[in-house]
Each structure stands twice: as C-alpha cells, then as structure tokens.
C-alpha cells in the first residue's frame, strides 16, 4: 500500500457544481474509485489524495494528475482516489467522468 497527497494549481471550476460530491468507478481489479468534492476555500487549487496497493508508480501518478489539473478547470475541489491497480487510462477516464458528473446539469 502506498498513500500520498499532492496539490496542483488549476483554473477554477467553470460553473458552480450542481451537487455536493460525485463518484466514478469502483474499487475493483484494474479499476479505481474517484470521489470529487467542492472546496470553495481554495478556488485555484486542486488537492489529490491517492491510495494504491501497487507501490513504485508515484511519479507516473503525479504526471497524470498534473496533466489533468493543467488540462481541465478543476480548481476548488478535492479529489480522493482509491486505486485497485488501474492503468493511467482508467485513472484519467474516471477523473473526467467524476468531473463531468459534478458539473453536469442533471440531478
């Protein structure tokens, strides 16, 4: 098990979130659970908390999270990732899904 936290600068969410939290994915083999919650106190920062059973990939996690933070406007949120061996593609997919859910108009 490896756990780490890291914050990155990011543009503030484009519009106010439509819900208090959003969840994408499940904790299952090759998959992960991404929980995203608004954090209005720090509108230009996104804070990640990662828990993964596979040690040794911290650098590629941080590269993927840094890219996601730069590419999408996710400032003003905290994101918790519970990993179960997901490849980077699934990490990014779940991050985008969680963000879409948080900011989508439907309830």
């Amino acid at each position: 098990m490896e756990a780490f936290q890291q914050s990155f600068p990011s543009h503030a969410l484009a519009w106010p979130p439509s819900r208090k939290w959003a969840l994408a994915g499940v904790v299952g083999s090759g998959n992960l659970e991404v929980l995203i919650e608004p954090n209005p106190a720090a509108p230009d920062t996104v804070s990640y908390s990662v828990e993964t059973p596979i040690p040794g990939y911290r650098d590629s996690w941080l590269a993927a999270l840094s890219d996601f933070s730069a590419h999408y406007a996710v400032g003003g949120t905290t994101i918790t990732l519970h990993d179960q061996g997901a490849p980077p593609v699934v990490v990014k997919l779940r991050l985008r899904q969680a963000l879409d859910l948080l900011t989508s108009a439907q309830s």
Partner: protein, 549 residues
C-alpha cells in the same frame, strides 16, 4: 542435343499417380491408407503445400505427414500460410523440411523461435497472405497440395462450406501445373449442396476419421468490453468514421473494433450516421455485427473465412452476405484480401507495439509470428484510381506535390497506450528491430504496418492524424501527444502538443465533443453473447465455450 523440358512435369505426375493407383478406388482412398498414399506420391525435393489457415486446418493430413519416417519424407520445401498445429512443428523436429515459406505462425510463435535458434527452421521468407498465394503462381507452385474440404461426392467434387478461405488459391496453381491435389473431407456424400472445387482439379479424396479443426477466431464476447474501449470507440466514430464519411471498411478481431460495432445502433444512431457510414464491409461474419445489421446499418459483407456459429444467420441474411445457390455462406481469402486492398475507404486494426515513426509490429523477442493478412489491407494501394469521399479527403490532407496521388486509404491503428500488465504499447524502438529477430528475416525488420502507410493513430487520449503531418519530427510529436503516460508519451513537449492540437493534427475527446462520462457499457447494443442471440432472432448459434446459460 540437350533435353528440352516440354512436358516432364506431366510425365512425372503420371508416374506418381500410377504408384498410387492400387490405393484408390476412383479417387477415393480409405483413411487407413493415407500414409501409403503420401509415400507413393511424394518425392524428395518436392514443393509441398499443406493447407492450414488461421481457421480451418487439414489437420488429419498434417498428422499423417508428421507420422512418416524421415527416411520416407525428406528435402521437402514446405509452403503454407499458417504454421499453427503441433504436427506442423513435428515436421521440423524430424528434419524433413529443407526450406519453409509461410505467412503466419501465431500460436506456434515460441516453438518456431526455438527451432530457429536450434537451426531447425530454414526460413525462405515470411510473407503476407496474398504475397504467398501470388508466389504459388510464380516460383513456389506446389507439386503436391494437401487440402481440407467439408464434403466430397464419389466423383471427387468438393464442397468447402463456409470456410473456403484459401483452398482455391492452393488448388488452382497446383492442378494446372501438373501437381497432385489430395483432399481430406469430413464426409463423402452422394450429392453435394454445391460444387466449390470441380473433380477435374482433385486427384485423391480421403474421408478423415474426425472432422477438420475449425477455430471460432472472430467471436468477441461483449461482456469483456471495457469502458476504455468504449471511449476509444466513441473517439473513432466521431473523429474518423463521421469525419471522413467512411463507407467501406475492414475491422480486425480486437475488442476495440467490436466496441465500435456495438455502438453503431446506439451512439452512431444518435449522431445520425446510419446510411452515411459503415455500409460496405470486408470482414468475417462477426457476431458483434449482428445488432448493426439488424438495425439496418449494413448493405454488404464479404469475408475471407466463415465463423463458427454464424451459419444459419448468414444463410438467412443473403442480402448482406455472399451465399451459394444452396443458400449457405461463401468466403474467399485471396479475393477478400484483394478487395480489402483496393476497394476500401479504411483499414482499422490494433497492434502490440508502435514506435515513434508510426511503424507497428506484433513481434516480441522469443516469438516469430509472421504477418498474416493485415499488411495486405493496412497499406496504401497505389494502384487505386477510383475516388471516394474518404479517399479524396485523406488525399487532400497528405503531402501535396506534383507527383502525389490524389487520394489515400485511411490506415488507422487503434491501441490503448498500455497493454495488459502495464506493458507500454508505444516504444522508441520496436522489438522487431532486435538483431536476433531481423536475422531470421535476412536483415529486414518484420514491420506489420509501416509508419508511412498509417494515416491515424487512435488511443484513449485522442487521435493523431499522421497523414496531415508535414515532417518526420511532426509525426513523432503527434505520436507522443497521444501516447499517454508511456515513456514515449512522457517525452512530449506541451508546446508541440498544443501547436499540433491547434492545427487539428491532435484531437482530444473534448475537441471532438466526446463526453468521457458517457463511456460506459450501458452504451453497448449488446451486453453479452446471449444478447447477440436475441438480436439474431435465435439464428446465431454461439460455440459452447461462449455459452453459460
């Protein structure tokens, strides 16, 4: 005066046939006499063709051949498309083969590499399918061909059923150049459903003690399709199928393209693409195409082979599939490959490795797999002259110049950035470039699809339009831009990627209006094999290994 060879092959054939005459009644030989027949007709130094496709196998004849003693069978020049069975490997272990020319050795790739290292696998060359069939008519015409058919009548006519595959491409050159054709059949009957090979081109028929081996190679269970593959399918449909109005195409056997097939009736319908894309196909009867066919997407499908379980469905959909007068399915590998080369807007396939030049390969160290048919379709047909919308659009994007062709085929590689086990798909240098691999190929690296032929690479990150790149450096930057978090991808410069994105050479999901949140299995027109049976109205009979109900 020197002897001029006017008809030596014909006279030689006559003497071989007379040696075998006591074994046959007419053309029929009992299976117990198979080894005697092979001893009678084969001579040292023969070019011998053994039918072994990636689906159907002359497995009984192969086993009988491998059972001969090396003193009875030697100095054979073996020509065959697919080295797939243990009995094929046995021929090499016994030292019967002096040279082999082939196209594919996927399932025996490791065994072939071992034999090669031991000096027991004397490769002439490794070919693509149509390249090898072409040589059957030029410098590799078989003296003896051992083939497989579904049924024969007592006169020796053959019925090939759904899996015609390459049988005619073996029989014709052999029969018309004084070679001997021996067919194993599943059963001998009084009247055939239809005649696929006339008895004039057949010398001996053997009713095998067991039916020929057939693999359900093209069946993909929708239950195994992942959300990532669905995202890639959405990206491909919007960014390529819709963008270029791809009307005629080929699909591979991967789950990525199976996802596309299952999104046509849902996502494709929603985009209003029915009747505009995916009308004409050169592809085997894929079970995952049933929902699209039943929803009216598909006009025609021509195939290089059949698929186990699709017999009743294809027979009942003769507007879509090519069928014989008897009503059953017909295939032809060389003609299908030719159609795939000249008549398609797009080839789309997957690969194990792609390098920074866009070259791709399925070779890994310690495995000699060969090529099969993908390069026959995954290349630019420079002999093409007829235009289509997709061909012209891709041509306009490519390098302009007074000597340039007006059009290009879309040659698309669709890959996840990582293979199973976190093995990166994108690499700086292919395993195929390894000296040990190249030495088996007389110094030429076994590239499956050349970077110069590729127009697009699709990954879960987005699309790289290599066809629109102007320089090699641009092409490499475009590849790095969609290579994700592989070592190749991590070397990208964000400025390069942004510049290529501004020019539309790199397109991300958001550039295409693809919402990743929708990439989930609910979007598939079928969730499991059972749904495909339902869509087919009960006409699809999945093989037992896919049935759990």
């Amino acid at each position: 005066m020197p002897q001029v060879p006017y008809d030596s092959r014909r006279r030689n054939k006559a003497s071989r046939l007379s040696r075998a005459s006591s074994l046959a009644q007419g053309k029929l030989v009992p299976h117990e006499k198979t080894a005697d027949l092979l001893r009678a007709v084969l001579e040292p130094g023969d070019i011998l063709c053994l039918e072994g496709d990636n689906q159907k196998q002359a497995d009984f004849l192969a086993a009988e051949l491998a059972g001969l003693d090396p003193s009875e069978l030697r100095d054979i020049h073996l020509v065959m498309s697919c080295i797939t069975l243990p009995s094929h490997i046995e021929l090499f272990k016994k030292g019967m083969i002096k040279k082999v020319d082939f196209a594919y050795a996927g399932p025996q790739g490791a065994a072939v590499a071992e034999l090669l290292a031991a000096g027991k696998f004397p490769i002439g060359a490794i070919h693509t399918y149509n390249e090898l069939y072409a040589r059957y008519y030029i410098d590799l015409t078989p003296r003896v061909a051992l083939i497989a058919a579904a049924k024969a009548d007592r006169a020796g006519n053959l019925f090939l059923a759904a899996n015609t595959e390459e049988t005619p491409a073996i029989v014709e050159p052999t029969a018309f150049y004084d070679g001997i054709v021996i067919a194993q059949v599943n059963e001998i009957v009084d009247t055939l459903p239809r005649i696929d090979v006339p008895t004039d081109q057949v010398d001996f028929v053997i009713e095998a003690p067991y039916p020929m081996h057939l693999t359900a190679l093209f069946t993909r269970d929708p239950a195994a399709i992942t959300d990532t593959q669905i995202l890639m399918a959405m990206i491909a449909i919007k960014g390529i199928y819709q963008e270029y109005e791809v009307e005629s195409l080929n699909h591979g056997i991967g789950f990525d393209t199976a996802a596309i097939e299952l999104l046509l009736p849902t996502y494709g319908e929603e985009l209003g693409l029915k009747g505009k894309i995916c009308k004409y196909w050169m592809v085997n009867p894929l079970p995952t195409m049933i929902p699209a066919i039943e929803s009216g997407w598909v006009d025609t499908v021509f195939s290089v082979g059949g698929e186990v379980g699709m017999e009743r469905y294809t027979a009942a959909r003769s507007d879509i599939y090519f069928t014989g007068r008897d009503g059953s399915f017909h295939s032809n590998r060389p003609m299908g490959q030719l159609a795939g080369h000249y008549a398609l807007d797009m080839f789309i396939g997957a690969s194990l490795q792609i390098d920074i030049h866009g070259n791709s390969s399925t070779v890994s160290k310690g495995r000699i797999t060969g090529f099969g048919g993908a390069p026959n379709m995954g290349c630019q047909p420079n002999g093409r002259r007829h235009p289509s919308k997709a061909w012209l659009k891709a041509g306009r994007e490519a390098n302009p110049g007074p000597g340039a062709l007006p059009g290009r085929k879309l040659v698309v590689q669709m890959v996840e950035t990582f293979q199973a086990g976190r093995v990166p798909t994108f690499v700086e240098t292919l395993d195929a470039q390894d000296p040990s691999v190249k030495s088996a190929m007389q110094g030429v690296a076994p590239i499956m699809i050349y970077g110069d032929d590729v127009t697009h690479i699709v990954t879960e990150e987005g699309i790289a339009n290599l066809g629109a790149c102007r320089t090699q450096e641009e092409r490499t930057a475009a590849i790095r831009g969609v290579a994700g978090y592989t070592p190749v991808g991590l070397k990208r410069s964000s400025a390069d990627t942004a510049a290529l994105r501004a020019r539309g050479i790199i397109k991300l999901p958001e550039d295409l209006g693809v919402a990743p949140a929708r990439a989930n299995r609910g979007l598939l027109a079928a969730q499991e094999i059972k749904d495909l049976v339902r869509w087919s109205g009960g006409l699809y009979d999945p093989p037992s290994q896919f049935v759990d109900w």
